[in-house]
Symmetry: D2
Subunit: 436 residues, 4 copies
């Protein structure tokens, strides 16, 4: 039933998409085409049913991701900036608006899985319709619209990661636990060395996005932040280390836990990371290639902020602040690391060593997601992109194995509620150093 | 998108199914084949996604209905009575057992919609596999097994009705409200005459199933019941009459309602039958052929017991007991009436007049669903079929436009909780007569 | 803290109450005074706080019971029938109306425990005010009002039983488990003999209340019912027998249980009757005199309908119908048995033998609580007394150790939801006999 | 029913308490006695029932506050540091431990209102018992124990504020809305001038508690923080300004609100601050002296973080960070302002003008409650005091009309969840200034 070859958003597909457009491509056209093609590739092995069902309110159906990202381009670029453009279907914006209050009423988030029609194929046709229209219009779009196209590409990359984690969550609900993508060969790797600590003297650091490159509004303004003397771990926590935490009673002792976290552990009967299951004496995990033994050398993932914080407490350490993290990571190349290049069974991999800040797992920080000094949300509907979520959530930094390569930046601020763990989330430790 | 021709379980399909079996057919074989073919026909216009999603815990996906009815034959007939039979897939009983505790652990009822694999096509193959095996074995099955085949056919007919009402409920959740089956021409009909009353002197009546024909265990033992003098309406309540109830404030005055019913009205903000929606001044309903104006001459449907009881109170009447109902209906042919002959947009239709007890809508009675005197559940797993549901539910009698023709009987006891209304449920009034 | 002598509604108290009234007492005056005095005696050992807190939505504070029963007399008798009567406090009807929709808005049932003012003493003053006014007016009241006084006395007796069971429920929530009334000496009793069976040939029986004596509307009309041949147990099930049911896995095997009951057992983690707790190897129960060992010879109590039905199934029997029960019990004196004569630690007691149908525990029947043929609720607010509760509940018959003596009748229909068990509810078995 | 004179913890009461102790008082003894006396005075007008009922899980009964604060001294001082001390009642620690996991199992927080015994008088006796024992032991206690006495006094002051706000919440649940304390005369005050803005150039500030005086662990370590150029309002937002926000549709427009806040507004149907009610055209509020018109000149209170943030957005401003707030407030005397000096109907009062940072209302900041750099929770049970609550909550600064005078400090960090508003919580605005 599953394809035997790995699915890729290959060049042929991108080329095909670009042909209908004018021969004089806009510089952004190829990026647009590549992004759009990867979404299609990710959905390739899915049936109509796979792409329709919603496994929990936090997750969305693949079909919805495919349509919503398309609605974004259709609404904010084509409808607003291309004279004479007619909506593919006037009833669909109600279905595929996510949370933009300024764009009017919309389908309830927790009922997205009820929409069996339009079908996956009809949504694919919707994508083709919008792709053609947008590529055709691109060279004549005003700058403001081009910026929205760029925003739309980054937006779609975010949804690609969600698509992967949401479909993983859905398949995990199936008692048969089918694999989503064909398995790839695993290369045995030596266990990583004990954590090393990278010291920082503290002092003023420049934080946040500052240049002309794209960044989400919440990444700025660039500003100065004061760091305390501290050290940060040179790698993330591994599955093997996490298993030791479990074996040491980590989930059974209240003293490691924040009060809200302990209440969550009790109410949800949490005993291990999401998708872990003990078979005999050994821990297994469910992943995009089905259920398999955990790899003790690989970074632990699918842990909540509460778990990350409890682990850090147990380990005599703490989580880094998002500013500490950025101060260290800014010197590294955000395009390197285990990130998503193509559709397939991505997962965190044992590290070759050294401080890879980008890829494998998003790293929980101890920083609540709040606005930077001087932050102003954009005007209009796209102003709802980030600012309105700035309460109750924690910042994650870096990027994961499901983050499309090129999407990560040192200034990037991901955010989730402290109990959520269906993303590829992991842990890097930090600790205080005495002031000089 | 939808097929333009009506789907039927036609003779060709049945013939095809019978051919693999031996030429010496068992007398039950053709019935088996017809029942199995109708389920397939009902599912014919559905996509994999349509057949997979679960719209509420009370409802099941079409795919699940198709597989569960097959599991019933596979488990209780093939597995238990055909030496050497091997299960189609050993992991599927966990998925497709409904509620038989004696058959072991099973998938949670409210998570049935998570199972995107096996696909609809794979379930179709499962059906074919079991059909072939069962038809091949039928002539050699012991009597006990043949009885289970007969039970399985009745069981599947029940699920056919649920399949129709469940898929209707799912499509109603889609904001686009797509039609499921192509519409059929409506013939305008004169409004029915005012309700006439059929008197009964009361006295001892024989109630319940008694002969050798098939009946569910809960329909017996046949026994004597004492009726009071009463009259029963010669037809069910119409949409037009129900609209008058609404217009008269029926849903806003507590005095018509049972206390539990009033609490339900308030908590759920109930204002009309399920699927009704006011557009301008006119009521519409959603049905298998999409949203359309209500037909004031047709029987009202999709009302709960609470609503039925409140209407009766408003009308100065009451609901009949199940014994009164049976005493009247027993003299009529249960095979006549607006019942389901083939896949298509069934709905209650205006009556030609006269007391059609079977078809259009199931009729709420005032009788709680409890065991008859001397009732004993069958031994083993199939003993869980009815008896364990005998608390908290009310009996409905008759049959509906979605009941496969031939399934209804005067002794048939359908049952639902008093707030449920996604079945084709309606109302026939009764009233007390003075004792002689 | 607790009084050392048993509290009684003694004659002195009644005499005192009667003195302010005219010397020419209405025949109902002494009954009224006795009923009113017992409520006061029941509340005597309670503090203001004990009388104010509400332990669950099903239960009401003692203060509320004392005030609500008073509101009943004030509203339906004094306000409606005594010219010039002024309400004790115009704001209190909002607080103390229970569920009479026709009497206007009222305080939410589940917030009754928030009302710390008026105090218990203020409510006592309210009672005195209404008592004086009513006794003074009684000889001049029209017949309709006198009937309401009689109804009010029966109504208050019902609330006396609720008061006792509600305060028991509250004290059971206190981890210190204080005794409510001083303990009384227990007399050791021999274990009862095995259950004997009383046969009945079946046939037509006259059921329901028929004479001129007081009865609630739901007890009539008197009518004929057809009984099947059956036998009924000559005593109720004991604690010792129930402990054997538990030891035999009664709460762990689905096959004994109705589906709704099994879901309740799982969801609520039910393992024994309410208030039972295992200490070492022995079962104890919490009662009005604190926590003590169960008495194996005494009738089991605080079991739900679901438990009663499961026990009967386990015992190879069934519950009696309410008609069977009444046919047997009608020949016995309803004033005999272990009922409540005065305030104190009432509890079911070992039987002296023989079919005591009244007292100890209310007996679950297998009959859903539905109207008798020809039932009509009374006009106006008091018509809401019974009829509107006729869905979802089961009938209990007899009376309990907390039922004021004189309140019970063979025709009396008590009713509760099948999961409720904070009343003194127990089990009498029945079984089918072959037809002659 | 209510006392006509204002209740005070007067000197006579304190003197009485000090007499049983040795004549050589410990320096802390008088403070201890004063704190303990104020709690008693606050509870003085309450009945046993008033002091027992719990109005919501967030709030605790007065009796519980009185006992829990006593348990704190008994457990951490007397039990742990006074040889031979015997617990007043060995069963009570289970009842009166709040959340100290290290102290073992405890009564569920949301069931505190079930405990009608011990009575209020018995809890008063418990207080006297512990007071006497502690005062007698004080001069001989080791330093570590004396520190715990000091901590216990601050702890009790916190509970005094909670006691006031919890009892207010309870009385607001009573439909009769009784006053808790006798009203005091209101002096009409001129409306405050428009908000003035106090500028700050930004730069490094010393933040957190640093000296030898008492502070909670979460207030330190003292550390450097970097401020941005900004301005802070010279007074808090008034009721009159809030009414304008309401009139301008503040609660009806999603664009002012954080997403979580908007969901809360919709789910809870929030339309005004807690305890506000519109009567005719005018807003009223419920307070410790009953329901009265709002005073437009007084600071608004009983608003959640979500409301505070939405108001700031509507006003074109933002909330201050806790560091900005402290940088401004540190120069002011924390003992001045409208704080609680004695039991009575405290409420925010119109300002005389100028930046009163302490008193009237706690001021929501935009800072999530997280540990300061280098924070370490104390060892043992008291280490659970603050650190474990550092997720999901926001910091409030200052102090309120219900904060015992002397309890406030510039470094004080109060914290609540963003939806909570039963405390005296209000709003001070801030805004960014351009960098130099």
């Amino acid at each position: 039933m599953l394809p035997t070859a790995t699915i890729v958003a290959d060049d042929r597909e991108v080329t095909t998409m670009l042909q209908p457009a004018t021969t004089a491509h806009h510089p952004l056209a190829e990026r647009f085409a590549r992004v759009r093609a990867l979404s299609m590739a990710l959905a390739e092995p899915l049936s109509d049913a796979d792409a329709t069902v919603q496994s929990m309110p936090d997750a969305s159906p693949t079909k919805w991701h495919l349509a919503h990202t398309t609605w974004f381009f259709e609404t904010f670029v084509l409808r607003d900036h291309v004279p004479g453009y007619r909506l593919h279907d006037e009833r669909w914006p109600f279905l595929f608006n996510s949370y933009y209050e300024a764009e009017g009423r919309r389908h309830a988030r927790d009922r997205r899985g009820m929409v069996t029609r339009p079908t996956l194929d009809e949504v694919r046709a919707y994508r083709a319709h919008v792709d053609v229209a947008l590529l055709a219009a691109m060279t004549t779009l005003p700058d403001a619209a081009i910026e929205l196209v760029a925003l739309g590409c980054h937006h779609e990359e975010q949804h690609q990661e969600l698509l992967v984690t949401d479909i993983l969550h859905l398949f995990a609900e199936n008692p048969l636990e089918p694999a989503i993508y064909p398995a790839e060969p695993k290369v045995p790797v030596a266990m990583p060395a004990p954590i090393g600590w990278l010291a920082h003297d503290g002092g003023i650091a420049e934080i946040g996005h500052g240049g002309d490159d794209f960044a989400f509004d919440c990444e700025g303004p660039r500003h100065r932040a004061l760091l305390q003397p501290h050290a940060i771990a040179d790698r993330t926590v591994t599955n093997g280390e996490w298993a030791a935490f479990i074996a040491d009673g980590g989930y059974r002792e209240a003293r490691h836990w924040l009060a809200d976290g302990w209440a969550w552990v009790k109410a949800e009967a949490i005993e291990a990371p999401l998708y872990w299951e003990k078979q005999g004496e050994a821990w297994t995990r469910f992943g995009l290639d089905g259920r398999r033994p955990i790899d003790p050398a690989a970074p632990v993932t699918h842990v909540s902020f509460y778990e990350a914080d409890a682990y850090a407490s147990w380990a005599g350490a703490r989580l880094p602040t998002e500013f500490e993290w950025e101060a260290h990571a800014a010197a590294h190349d955000a395009r390197l690391g285990n990130q998503m290049d193509r559709a397939g069974p991505v997962e965190p991999r044992p590290s070759a060593g050294g401080p890879a800040y980008f890829g494998d797992v998003w790293e929980w920080t101890g920083s609540a997601y709040r606005p930077y000094p001087g932050f102003q949300a954009a005007e209009g509907a796209v102003g709802e992109y980030n600012g309105k979520f700035m309460s109750g959530q924690f910042v994650l930094r870096g990027g994961s194995c499901a983050t499309p390569r090129g999407h990560a930046r040192a200034s990037y601020r991901n955010f989730f509620y402290p109990h959520q763990r269906w993303q590829f989330t992991g842990v890097r430790l930090a600790k205080d150093l005495p002031s000089c």
